[in-house]
Amino acid sequence: MHYHAPTELAEVAALLASAKGQGRVMAGGTDLLARFASGMPRPDMLVDIKQVTELMVIEQHDNGSFTVGAGVSGAVIGEHAALCRVWPGVTEAMELIGSVQIQGRASLGGNLCNASPAADSVPALITAGAHCRILGGQGERQVPVADVIQSPGKTCLASDEFIVSFYLPPRPARSADAYLRLIPRSEMDIAVAGAAVNVTLDNEGVVVAASVALGAVSAVPFAVPGAAELLMGSRMEDDLMAQFKTVVSSSCRPINDKRGTIDYRNHVAGVLAVRAARIAGERAAWKEKA
């Protein structure tokens, strides 16, 4: 296995192209090295992207949008006060992954490219409307996070492509997001179900924009537009939220496995989505007062 740690974007692209499909990108390595340890064959070439500045910085732009480098670790994301204030759901989702030790290395780009059905940051990035800047031999393209994971372990990236950064769009006033997951322990486990909700309220507290996405209850994390539509024009009244929960639960297509049964996951996804929606709503309202 040849290890490279290039410092320029163009070098990363050139190295991956030269590997002819036998190259792997490494950011924090928390998934990749654990797989090597469990016997996965090592690639011919490993391209460590952590020396490339564009992949390692968080930038806030004048219009309020953010660019987050694909290699930025959970620890750095959690320490970025402005990002945590504007995107509390995205940042709390990333910070839920693993231990302090894992947080020091695990990256946002790695969590997406590992393409786990249960990737915690992905539902939150989907509800945020985040886009990836993808670079490769054929040039550059922008892809919504929602379209990146195609099946467990498989992304839309060609073998010579890599994610440079995530773009989080500007936010209207009174907007906030939230992510919740259920694990059997209080730390260090993989989600049985996860739910992200992103809302914008008007100055009367009525929902004027909403998005909902789920993790660990399908082959890939996915958005639930039907549930988001229900929230529109509401104040998340109790009877509406009962209906919302039903729509969320019925959108799930989970499997039975050691972490939970289909029925349990359907139920829990609904419960988590209701709670996440209420937290997002409270945060959005609270932001107005702040």
């Binding site: 390595g29 928390t30 030790q101 290395r105 730390e187």
Partner: protein
């Protein structure tokens, strides 16, 4: 092909040769004989191999040794000052916060990383912080007490007031 790596370990410039697939843990233990850092699971779940890598707490089993080029690594071997134990090490002894000892270096490195950023953590903060370190012997209670007690003693040492 072996790669030549130059890095700082516990404040000393250190050079070694390694395969690109070797983990930092393997090089610390097998090449450099810094065997205080332990291997538990080898997959980032147990925290026994915790070290500081460029001032971040990490599992050295999930770091490639080649990544250490021009880096700063701090291991358990750098924790005591000569014969004088770090207050956390002394506290682990006084609270009998270990039995077999395999997890202890990892707990100490992790606990020091906590107290370096948060000198007065709550019990809840301590428990969440050490969630990435597993101990099969103690049931954690004595470890949590040892960390909280060391934190208190270190705060008093800082202010010069006896506890």
């Amino acid at each position: 092909m072996k790669q030549h790596i130059c890095t700082s370990i516990n404040g000393e410039i250190t050079e070694f040769l390694c395969d690109s697939s070797a983990t930092l843990l393997q090089v610390l233990r097998d090449n450099l004989q810094l065997t205080g850092t332990k291997e538990g699971c080898g997959s980032g779940d147990c925290g026994a191999c915790s070290v500081m890598f460029n001032d971040r707490l990490v599992c050295s089993c999930l770091v490639l040794a080649v990544e250490a080029q021009n880096s700063r690594i701090d291991t358990i071997e750098g924790m005591a000052t000569g014969d004088k134990l770090h207050p956390l090490q002394q506290s682990f002894l006084e609270h009998a916060a270990l039995q077999c000892g395999i997890c202890t270096p990892g707990f100490l490195v992790a606990a020091k990383a906590l107290l370096d950023t948060n000198p007065s953590p709550t019990e809840t903060e301590v428990r969440f912080w050490i969630a990435g370190n597993l101990c099969r012997c103690t049931g954690y209670d004595s470890i949590v007490r040892a960390i909280l007690d060391a934190a208190e003693k270190m705060r008093h040492a800082e202010t010069g007031v006896a506890p």
